[in-house]
Amino acid sequence: MNGVVIIGAGLAGARCAEALRAGGAEIPITLVGAEHAEPYERPALSKGFLAGTLAEDDLFLRPPGSWEDRGIDLRLGSPVEHIDLRRRTVVVSGGELAWSHLVVATGTRARRLPGVDFRNVHHLRTLDDAVALRAAVNPGTRLVVIGAGFVGAEVASTAAGLGAHVTIIEAEAAPLARVAGAEVGHLLARRWRAEGVALHLGSQIARVTPDRVEIVGGQTVPYDVLLVAIGAEPASELLAGAGGIPTDAFGRTAHDGVYACGDVASLEGRRVEHWTSASGQAAAVASTILGSPRPYADTPYFWSDQFGLRLQMVGTTTGWSHVELDGDSASFRARYVDLEGKAVAVLLANRAAEVAAARRELATAA
């Protein structure tokens, strides 16, 4: 009897497998992952794991042996080479797996700068990446981060806390500008600088050598360790080419019996790289496979811990015309409001008490 094959043993794949078993599915469930590690928490890689306060064992989603206990066949270190939609199999090195339901949860890959692949250049996506980065960053290390997005910011913050000398180089005029807008971005920039990080904004990369970064305009930034944190691209080639795998609200793709969830999935035209979306979409896919389909319709949410701020964003910052800012760089609420005065997103900094209310407001508005 062919069961469910889930490609990708990250959060979405793991949650989907768990939800299928918890929902009473008795068919075989195979969870296939390219990484060698059992399913683990990725957000911790740039936070506690990099800081050294969490060990590898603390990251796993389930204790060792739990997957086998639940009859979930876990195949690690097995990248899938090919999906055969007609014969309903997937090809891994070493054989074929037949499926009656296929879930693609392959996530994303860290984007790379062409030609920048020297020994001390790092990216951060996987546990292996994090282990290498943790070993490289020590007190006094000159760390340069290209990209002032959330991963770059968190690594910068953690590394600064470890005593490294951190410089961030960002092409936009303000950090997190695309997500947070200029006003909030500048607020964050002030905080980052106050925490001791050197910030080069509006700076394009001219050239990267094994020991320094040259910025357009002449400045040179030497480094011991370079982190390229310029975003991620979906690993969707198995099914859809580049750009994410399109699905409906239930996680169904254009192919019968084939689903997608997590960072790789473009749900009703929108792809996000959020923990809660991966987890929620995985549950939706499982419920659909089990025969009581429940769509995933939650408002997007993510959080980031950086430079003493817990940032929490509810909603998506598209279609807003102005920001209502309350507070300062130690604690604030930024409401992103459209032309009709309706909030499309709320960004909170150190205001956990307001999250639930923001989620309620944006859920009803959606």
């Binding site: 064992d57 603390d58 204790p63 060792p64």
Partner: protein, 199 residues
Amino acid sequence: MRHDPTFWLLARASGLTAYVMLTLSILAGLLVKSRPFRTLKPAAVVDLHRILAMLGLGAIAGHAAALVLDTTVKVSIPGLFVPGLVSYRPVWTSTGILAAELMVLVYASFSMRKRIGPKNWRRLHWATYAIFAMATVHGLAAGTDASRPWAFALYAVAVSSVAIAATWRFIVPPATARARRPAGRAAEITPRRRGEQPA
């Protein structure tokens, strides 16, 4: 952090052990007076009674240590001694705490018998029934295993044997009363009439 249930399981095992020791100690204590087996000397039974009580207290100490070390249910050191501090089933946990503290008192009272006087010591000893009742309630209501058939059978056997032994002790005349009759009384037989043969 990976969760290790070892101390949780040890806590349950030591709790049940303590209960068994307590039960056996009580049974031994009850049988001192109403010994059904003449061959057992009272002194030996008293010793057994006290040893079992001591073992029971030892098991309780183990039970307490395992609970503090366990990470499933949060028990602080003050929580071991002050009833109501532990958030897990507080009423039934407190019952166990009180039973244990009373048991320590009763056990210690033996060495203080001379100071408190035999009559007060005996009165305090009656508290043993309260200890047993509270320990039983604690085991049934706060204990994880109480719902299992074998555990429930254990409690049933313990309670009924204590009930039977207690009833026996108060109904059956104490063997020691017969033994303590002065030797002289044995000679007090019906005076023989002259010429009659002994009966």
